[in-house]
Symmetry: C2
Subunit: 391 residues, 2 copies
């Protein structure tokens, strides 16, 4: 079942990490940062390759210092040292966490203060679409006892991570492909009379069988001709004739996410619902067409928005029409007015038009693309123009 | 396959939330807090019952204000409003997130400042084993513009969540039971020659089939007579004759975690490894026996530590011998010297002795218990005294 032949090699070469680091250090220099220190799993993984499901436990903080020159320094709980030693990182400093009195703080401080100083500033994950994975009281204690300024490093971090390497895109492409195939197979596995919860259980198991590592995100909801929301569920509700069953998934392979949805018709849907579905399919085409290097996220939003407007929406509570993805289910930028991000080669983006066409009846489409010099390349298998039917 | 007859009802009654709130408000009063505001999924879920896998997306902050009197107030992105309206929460305030310029901040501030004031302080998730799920720059902006003091609410929050309700314990018991059964069935599904990764894939699928909602945590590792660490993996390594295959899991049902491991012998293991395994089995017995109301976490640590010491360990990089669990894989307290938490009825704890008995050879056991007035009650099915064998 697992498409081993198409599965990318897990992990990344030291050359890849060197390339990531060199680019990051250029960006840090431009942001006038002597170092970044990161605490969030996707950031730690990006710079070191280190992976652990143990991050599910919030008890112990983990730190990685990325200096403006030289290789990353890991400042981590002892429990993680044997595995960190298998990565390309050489400088690993540990403490016997958990130690509430000093959970890595003095070790982190001396790592930061031991670096060559040029700008007198280090960047941390303080801003947009990030949160600091350590107690705030510890962060404030660190900040107030350091001789260096701690600045918001998130603009630099997002500039670094927003553009993917070829190997990252290959990873995302693989998880998009197997999720696409599982979505396609679902109508053959599911019958009218099975609940939303049963649908996701089957899809989740199928995606695992095809080679995904995990499925942290799989909301599902059903309703007559559309759904009232797209981020919660599944519930025990049994979809009925005329319903649309909406399923979205963020599944992962080797740390990288897909993020796209599919809609299924339960038996025959109304012509109104079919029209709204057709409009969202066309809006997706427009979004894919607009996602070219040099365009902005506002342009992509506008291209989709035009078609959505023509279809006569009464609302959309999502707040945007797509976003970046990679080591996180959602990353900057956002396709929304005012975002203003210039799209460049090797970004990976979702194209996600949606609308409420009647009260409580939303239809949302989503595909994932990588940006090439010639425009958007689909990483997902394009959703069929006609909604697949569960019988 | 799903043990529907034993599966607890999903969700909790309004009476349960009222009971949680009343107890929380007593604790808040004692901590001199006019309110708590929470951002982390387990805390939001604890007070509202609201669930969403969408929290996997870090883009939008979510807030719930728990006042010292009256019901919780949800201050959330519009995208979540239809589902929040299905909970027992009446007061739901939304904004069209993401709005980087003001992502809920002014709405949250006015919710907090509109509350009756007695102590002039509100508590936030600033301390131990918590992190704030919002940008730190936004938190600091809120703090500096509020007429109320923002204090560390984590001691109050942990006092609230550390003691479980009967319905919470039933949830944890169910996920412990199905994970126990899946662990028991694994030797019949796995053969020598299959990789660590294949072992977890099979176990993950089996746990899903038996009724788990998700498996955010399933590290696996194998090695001759023991393992070098217990929090990373699986890798593609194929366990060999004489190896021990270690698997741990935090799987969930309706938001509640189990957290326990099992060890498997690949063919015949050395007598040294068998002796270390026997010692950890006995240390687990001692830990279970020591976890009685009135004892401290230090006592539990000491009871296990005594048997571990007699077995001649050379180390243990875990930093403690067990902890609390519930809506998180790990929660306070910790069985470690100096933790000093007094164990009371209805705590749910892991009992997790381990040791390195030779270089790179760790053996770690783990069970989950609920504390009753008579002592610890096993929620997991006790691991067999003899290690199960994969052939």
């Amino acid at each position: 079942m697992i498409a081993a032949s198409r599965m990318p090699k897990r992990g990344f070469t030291p050359a890849e990490f060197e390339q990531r680091l060199a680019r990051a250090q250029q960006i840090m220099h431009r942001h006038e940062l002597d170092a970044l220190f990161v605490t969030a799993p996707p950031n730690i993984r990006y710079f070191t390759g280190f992976d652990s499901q143990f991050w599910e436990s919030p008890t112990r903080p983990w730190f990685v210092v990325v200096p403006r020159e030289g290789k990353p320094i890991a400042v981590i709980p002892e429990i993680g040292a044997p595995e960190m030693a298998l990565t390309w990182v050489d400088d690993i400093r540990t403490w016997p966490a958990p130690v509430p009195e000093d959970d890595g703080l003095s070790l982190l401080r001396s790592a930061l203060e031991g670096l060559p100083r040029r700008f007198g500033r280090v960047g941390a994950e303080l801003g947009r679409e990030m949160s600091l994975r350590m107690p705030v009281v510890d962060f404030l204690r660190l900040r107030d006892s350091m001789r260096l300024e701690i600045a918001d490093g998130s603009p630099a971090l997002w500039e670094i991570r927003m553009v993917k390497t070829a190997a990252e895109i290959e990873h995302i492409h693989f998880i998009c492909t197997i999720a696409s195939e599982a979505y396609e197979a679902l109508p053959s596995q599911l019958s009218i009379g099975e609940s939303e919860r049963e649908a996701t259980r089957k899809l989740r198991i199928d995606i695992a069988r095809r080679g995904a590592d995990s499925t942290p995100f799989m909301p599902a909801i059903s309703g007559p001709g559309g759904v009232p929301q797209i981020v919660c569920g599944p519930h025990d509700r049994i979809p009925e004739e005329g319903d649309i069953l909406f399923i979205d998934t963020g599944s992962t392979f080797d740390g990288y996410f897909c993020d796209f949805d599919r809609n299924y018709a339960i038996g025959r849907i109304s012509s109104e619902a079919a029209r709204a579905h057709e409009a969202m399919w066309l809006a997706t085409e427009a979004g894919i067409g607009a996602a070219v290097p040099g365009a902005t996220t506002d342009d992509v939003w506008r291209a989709m928005g035009k078609i959505i407007e023509e279809a006569g929406p009464i609302g959309n509570n999502v707040g945007r029409l797509g976003h970046g993805l990679g080591l996180q289910l959602t990353e900057p930028p956002s396709h929304r007015p005012g975002d203003g991000t210039v799209i460049v080669e090797n970004m990976v983006l979702t194209i996600e038009p949606g609308m409420e066409y009647a009260p409580g009846k939303m239809i949302v489409h989503e595909e994932n693309v990588a940006i090439t010099k010639d425009g958007a390349r689909l990483l997902t298998k394009r959703a069929p123009r006609e909604m697949p039917v569960i019988r």
